[in-house]
Symmetry: C2
Subunit: 510 residues, 2 copies
């Protein structure tokens, strides 16, 4: 287990993230510190960083250095983006920064910044083809991804701080100022976006995007407390912009969900994002919690010959969902033999009953995740571990799944022992038949769990047949163990009701 | 880290608990399996166990054996109580049991059963003097504890299954049958309890006691989902008995919170417990989640020269609360230097501000717990780790604290970064001024946390003085580090509002 720290000195904030990881196998974010540095503040025609922002930046770097030391971080990667990249006094600043944080700051070019943003996002989403943007304080990057690889990308100096400082003189700004900013950004973007246009989803990263997601979630009382993977509709973005463009600083500060370090630049940033979405003709934005920092981390995490990557390609997970599930199972040290076997039995049931439930690969993947993770709640307490499993799944990191999918996985674990899946709180994010999905999938995990009641893999597999309208589940047990397995069969029969009712058939376990 | 399994073959249920532990340092319940065996079923005048219950018992022991093997348990302790103790065919049964579970069953005498029940309870409660009972299926034990040691104890064949089988012929039983049972038990108890009487709390263990607690919690919509430490008033017990004594089996099964493996003997068991409480003149019962099994585990856990015990005494924690907090900190591998230092700074504040808040040793102990555990939520996710800390504290094992105290500790961790402690959900268990306690204590943890913002122990301690009505918090910082520490002072000042408002004074951090 090693610790990797990534420092990211942006135009608005300076951050440190610390990951504990076993390279290529599992990782966990163990710390994050954010300082509002506003390094790009007040840059004038000479293009030089000012002394006061520099002082704040150096202070944050000193703090990060001592945090890394206290956390026994093995490797520190320090990145600087737009504000440093464009500074006329860059060389002197880098010298002082090195003295402060003990490591050399690597100044990313616009292309490199776009690339690391892409690495951060592609490893946290399952999409093969998509567009990505990363709107920071100083610059904005847009990347087209085809087949999980970069097709085109560009970086423009259209960051939230930079645009706000250039176009706005007050909060709220005048309507004219708002229009001027928006038109300027659209104009700059359209030259580049024109050749990228294609029907694919848009994924967006950066502090502004995350802050907007949070504000929209508050508006609609969203049932999940997670930002990554949130779908922000462009209509919702428009209405947020409309509201914010009339607000004073203190009104902005009072908005539920507002991050108070961003109030003075959030409108400018929102307009940049709106321009990207409108010029590219997207209806919604999938918000990413990961970006440049995580990209730099993934490069380290996946740099050698690792099981989850393809050596011919960039350091990108072949299957980020599968990695995410394995990673979570790894974090909570679930009892592997038992969990793997419950997954196997649940899949046997799923495959054998396919004509009855009619679900496909998407549901099977969720079933695998729910079955493998059903017992992670043990880490909290033996008592109510089914409830704790759901809590850990809803609170933890399963980046490449949608919120709806995470809710379904959580429900399978919550109801793997008893009870009727209660989906009411997810009405807002569930689609047609999801309540039925939850019942069928939880019913399968439950039946598999009780076939594995003794955690001894005595039931090696199952087959199912329809006999006179009844589902007959046949357990495969070695002949000399049949007497011993009566407990498993009896328990499985007793706990088959949820699945039986969901499928509308009697179940007989033999 | 070793694993210890304890098998407990009782008259009603057969159980296996598995603990992972580092002897004397930390432990965690990692698995528990319960089988309804009803070993004492149908014992007639010949006193012999019947073949069918024996078969069920052997089946459960075989299952436990394979579970222990699958879990890689290092040591198995197998105990048998009243049903086996009193069986005329004991020798033959023990031979068959050994073949089934692979280890010799140790048949506890009544005194030994009382002793292990005591060990299980005393290590999970902070009381110096108290009475304890353990009502099982076959027998009931009562023990007087003085200065955390056994003064007197006895065991009588008054278990829930035994009494129900002897006095009841139907469900519900007749009023006459109920009275006969109650009078018989009271009569037997009063001979022994008379000389034990004293004004001390009553702590009760066993499946019946826990089931009654759960039923009462459901009746009053109790805010915490934990049984251990629950205070069941004798009035509430009376009203449960009144309701249950009119119910059929299927009505009992439908009671919210009812454990369906116990419906036919719960009334009998409740009457035994009622007799203990009434004859001993107790007003309420503190329910224990631990008993004989845990006692046998603690004997192993504390058997050598361990830091938490006194060699002259039985294997009993000197301070079970402190152990519980350390144990939880250990489970979640919190960042020790930082957490310890936040605890130190919070205690500095508490001690220096004592004239203003007027709280004493009890609150200081809670503050220590909350400060040490404030970051355990990191184990779930960096994001919202304050909420996760509260969840883990409310769901986890802090046995020697009351539910009210656990709620207060949880609130300190929940609000260690931001927000106003919200105590509304605890109205039912909080006492006068607890909302104020939560604010003051959370305010101190928060101020300490921000004085330790850089996790570098740069602020070594604090002193406080009242200057012109204002609280001046003076941070002790080495002279050459003063410039570097400005961040901590600034953050602490910014986050002092909760404490300042709770104490009704301005706070200035210098």
């Amino acid at each position: 287990m090693i610790k990797i720290g990534v420092i990211d000195l942006g135009s608005n904030t300076s951050r440190l993230v610390i990951y504990a990881c076993e390279p290529g196998v599992s990782y966990k974010l163990v710390d994050q510190v954010r300082e509002r540095v506003r390094l790009a503040e007040g840059i004038g025609p000479d293009g030089a960083l000012h002394e006061e922002p520099i002082r704040r930046a150096l202070e944050s770097l000193t703090l990060f250095r001592s945090l890394c030391k206290a956390s026994q971080v093995d490797k520190v990667i320090a990145l600087a983006t737009s504000a440093t990249r464009d500074a006329s006094n860059q060389a002197l600043f880098l010298q002082r920064a090195k003295a402060a944080c003990g490591v050399e700051l690597r100044v990313l070019s616009g292309e490199e910044e776009a690339y690391y943003g892409y690495l951060g996002m592609i490893n946290a989403f399952q999409h093969d083809d998509c567009f990505m943007f990363d709107v920071g304080g100083g610059s904005a990057q847009v990347t087209q991804v085809v087949n999980r690889q970069v097709r085109h990308g560009f970086s423009l100096p259209l960051g939230a701080v930079r645009m706000s400082e250039r176009f706005f003189t007050s909060t709220p700004p005048s309507r004219k100022q708002i229009e001027a900013l928006y038109d300027y950004v659209s104009e700059r973007l359209s030259q580049h976006l024109a050749r990228l246009k294609s029907p694919a989803p848009l994924i967006g990263s950066g502090g502004t995007a995350r802050a907007l997601a949070k504000l929209d979630q508050e508006t609609r009382r969203y049932p999940m407390d997670r930002i990554h993977g949130y779908e922000l509709s462009v209509d919702a973005l428009d209405s947020l912009i409309k509201r914010m463009s009339r607000m004073t600083l203190s009104e902005l500060e009072k908005m539920p969900g507002m991050n108070d370090e961003r109030t003075d630049v959030i409108l400018g940033g929102a307009l940049v994002i709106r321009a990207i979405a409108r010029v590219g003709k997207f209806d919604s934005i999938l918000i990413s919690g990961t970006g440049v920092r995580e990209g730099a981390f993934f490069e380290q995490f996946l740099k050698d010959d690792q099981p989850h990557t393809d050596l011919q390609a960039p350091p990108v997970f072949v299957n980020p969902r599968q990695f995410a599930v394995d990673n979570m199972a790894h974090q909570y040290q679930v009892w592997h033999e038992h969990s793997f076997h419950v997954r196997k039995l649940a899949c046997d049931l799923f495959d054998a009953l396919r004509p009855l439930h009619g679900f496909g690969a998407a549901e099977r993947e969720l079933l695998c995740a729910g079955a493998l993770l059903h017992d992670i709640g043990y880490r909290v307490s033996y008592y109510n571990h089914d409830k704790h499993s759901q809590y850990l799944i809803e609170s933890g990191d399963l980046p490449a799944f949608t919120h709806r999918e995470i809710a379904l996985i959580g429900l399978m674990t919550r109801y793997h022992r008893k009870g009727e899946p209660d989906c009411t709180q997810y009405a807002d994010i569930f689609v047609k038949d999801d309540a039925m999905r939850a019942r069928v999938l939880a019913g399968m995990v439950r039946l598999a769990e009780y076939l594995e009641r003794g955690r001894r893999q005595i039931v090696r597999g199952v087959t199912c047949q329809l006999e006179r309208g009844e589902i007959v589940v046949r357990a495969d047990i070695l002949p000399h163990l049949r007497a011993e397995a009566s407990m498993e069969l009896w328990e499985a029969q007793r706990h088959s009701t949820l699945l039986a009712q969901a499928l509308g058939r009697n179940i007989r376990v033999v």
